[in-house]
Symmetry: C2
Subunit: 389 residues, 2 copies
Amino acid sequence: MLGNFSYCNPTRLYFGEGAIENLNAELPKYGKNVVLIYGGGSIKKNGIYDKVVEILAKNGKNVAEISGVMPNPTIEKVYEGLEIARKHKADLLLAVGGGSVCDYAKAIAVSVHCDEDPWDKYFLRFEEPTCEIVPVGCVLTMVGTGSEMNAGSVITNRASKLKIGHVFTDAAVMPRFSVLDPTYTFTLPHYQMVAGIYDIFNHICEQYFSGEDDNTSDYIAEGLMRSVVHSSRIANKDMRNYEARSNIMWTATWALNTLIACGKSTDWMVHMLGQAVGAYTDATHGMTLAAVSLPYYRHILPYGLPKFKRFAVNVWGVDAAGKTDEQVAQEGLAAMESWMKELGLAMNISELGATEEMVEGLADATLTMKGGYKVLGRDEIVAIFRESL
Amino acid sequence: MLGNFSYCNPTRLYFGEGAIENLNAELPKYGKNVVLIYGGGSIKKNGIYDKVVEILAKNGKNVAEISGVMPNPTIEKVYEGLEIARKHKADLLLAVGGGSVCDYAKAIAVSVHCDEDPWDKYFLRFEEPTCEIVPVGCVLTMVGTGSEMNAGSVITNRASKLKIGHVFTDAAVMPRFSVLDPTYTFTLPHYQMVAGIYDIFNHICEQYFSGEDDNTSDYIAEGLMRSVVHSSRIANKDMRNYEARSNIMWTATWALNTLIACGKSTDWMVHMLGQAVGAYTDATHGMTLAAVSLPYYRHILPYGLPKFKRFAVNVWGVDAAGKTDEQVAQEGLAAMESWMKELGLAMNISELGATEEMVEGLADATLTMKGGYKVLGRDEIVAIFRESL
């Protein structure tokens, strides 16, 4: 059944090759002081940085920069960026990069005018902003997180080995606009591309494998999963296939902008397991999810058998005739495993640098979620990590 | 391929039983003068009117009313409502009803502060508003049109026998908020319910059967179609099934809020044919669409064969093994026909009051669209109407 919910996603999306030109329509809506936020500098090699700076100059903006935002952005980096944004009296935070850069910009957005410590307030206590929120705009260069059209922000605290995501309720935390040009993702290494693809797929799974009914959200989720599987197979062989990359980009946005969570309890346990691995190893987010997924899903399969059967038939085209539900469900996960191997995803956490010795610590760092088919005990979390080694 | 596009849908949706209480959160955002807009008065019988009036009073609003908005709202009724809205200095237009009431409210919204004639400006010349737009809020009591989350408005000019829809580009024309309580649709007659269901299904078809690729929009569209077919079969037998009615309501919103049109050329030829029938007979919108659909789709099938084959397999579960593409495609339409008959939809325009003598006039009143698989000539339009008799 569709539970009660509210839905509001006001982000304006500009999609397609050359969509960057729409910055000229958006920038005049905001004040003069822009903080340009980006990562390790790859945008300086592929020309995106120059293009953005040119458009900012043309629109008479006064620009400060926060560079070097890392793949799993840290709270220490947030403190550093806050000084820059405050000193610059930021009217707009323009994130140019992937989900990490966008997540980081949102953490800055809710903290510039906040008197409290953002780690404590937003990531330990999960509070909503009570101060003015600085608008965020996004130019996306990596695909997967969906951060371009949601109010989520995942920040890592290296000192306490915690990687925590907060999906804010206030729609003002969402990017006001996002520019999605599929060609901007062409130069990404294959490893990053497939990690992003699995991130997308897993976002859909986390929402799909929860609740107990077959509501509209599940039907949309199946469409999105089939689309990403279809396009990923093309992109895996031909990274510059515009059609495949554009469909992957668009699917990513809808996989995590709250639509398919409507009326669902949602799970997010794979993310909790994967984020613990990420906090320990600093491995690429999508790969940490891939490495723990199958042990997790095989573990919870008996508790959500009808849904795993439906997944097998509707997403993977498994023929159910003459088979038990259990067999059909297992065939679905086997098809998913083949696809994951075909893409070259990390199939265990050892290859990401995790060790047997880390397992207890990983379990300690794993938050337990309550929306899936089975609320895991600590012993089950430990068993899943062992299985994932 | 996904063509370039922009997407922005800021409508805030409140979904579920009891969602009307969220009016208390929305109303304080607007000024004191509210114009309450509704149809033939059924909301006075089922208690919705009393509830809305109570909440308006509690929030200290100064309320004027426009009542008697008809199923195919006329431009004459718009002129009448404009006088009321102008005299009342409306700060908010609150539409309580189905798509007609909501469409009507949007026509008022763009016209209150407009010096030109709204019929000429918006429906003959398809211009965007150049004046201030009065905010619209919606409490939905009938499902189908998707008007609760889009910027479309369909208005009929009885004098010229034209029924014209304009989808405005400006997101400010969309309802600022919509209240979607599935129980509000329980008292609707079966005929209206199934007409609404076919309207939803056809909205998806109009977008799906266009373009030539299998992009993400098509995958989402298939999920929505499967959901509405599934839930309609339950609701057809049990009109008070909350789960089925809620999924139908939610699917309706996403069938026509621009999402599945993203990157697609879109067709809308069934709507043009159906709207001509509506202008002549005043028949229920969804029924006019149902009555012309199969002759139209069978006519264009040869021009979009791969898509009709995909439709058969992915939406209707037709087994393609050992059959020609043409056979598979025809089986898909046959499955659709069975479903339509099962619901009790109008299967021809004669039962809606259209006659052989009207055919030339209907063809004259039909606008030709260019986004589908075949741009129809006048002779083909005449042939399809004859086939639909």
